[in-house]
Subunit: 118 residues, 2 copies
DNA sequence: TGAACATGTGAATACACATTCATTTTTGGA
DNA sequence: TCCAAAAATGAATGTGTATTCACATGTTCA
């Protein structure tokens, strides 16, 4: 509880320490949040779903999701930095595909949650 | 490909339509992105991990993750709106816990990915 | 009922980030 | 080697949002 001039009591002081041990390290916490953050954008999600089953070049993705190749390229760069996509050059085109088997699972679960409630 | 004055050709025109059918609806896409987005923040992740196994009141969470109760309250509100946490009042305290069985799985997979590479 | 504590809330500030535009790099073909 | 296409890049702009601060609400207990 950082600098705060109210009068808060700690309710479960004894257990707090144990719970704290269950929280991942700041390093891992940051990595996880980065993964979620980068997937938390409709444009990037569309890109990811575009290349879920078939590799595609930047130009095709832009056409498919109705945006500019530049925007797609910027986002693919971010996705690549987090090792979520891989690229393969073939002539002038560069083909992108999912780099990670975890990503599909994440999509499945998130979609379940989205469809579940309400 | 929205208004763009370059000269981009569509490489795989025939398959684009089929791939497009595999992309979730804008509505579901938005829901999924909201879930990922809200988990894409270290502070919120800490909150989620805090109440992963045991319910805690706002004050305890604030103590545990070293921030102010106000900040925690704001974030819990966001998390609750997406039905990721539930609350239960007991006297003056309000106890929060995970509302969704999917969330733990998401954490596991994301952590795997984070630890996997490099 | 009123004082004290736990939490919620609204506005404001500061920061992060997606898109756009202009330009550059790389490749293939003439 | 020169031109055009595909993609990458950098800077600028506009938008969204986390935190902070001040205050409001709701609860317990004397």
């Amino acid at each position: 509880m950082r600098e705060f001039n109210g009068e808060y009591k700690i309710i479960h002081e004894t257990t707090l320490h144990d719970i704290g041990d269950g929280i991942p390290s700041d390093e891992n916490l940051l990595k996880i949040s980065e993964i979620f953050k980068i997937l938390g954008d409709p444009t990037r999600l569309k890109i990811m779903f575009s290349i879920l089953k078939t590799e595609l070049c930047v130009c095709d993705i832009a056409e498919l999701i109705d945006t500019t190749p530049s925007a797609v390229s910027h986002q693919l760069r971010n996705l690549k930095q987090l090792r979520l996509v891989t690229s393969r050059r073939s002539g002038k085109e560069i083909y992108y595909s999912l780099a990670d088997e975890h990503v599909e699972k994440l999509f499945e679960i998130a979609l379940e949650h989205a469809e579940d409630g309400k």
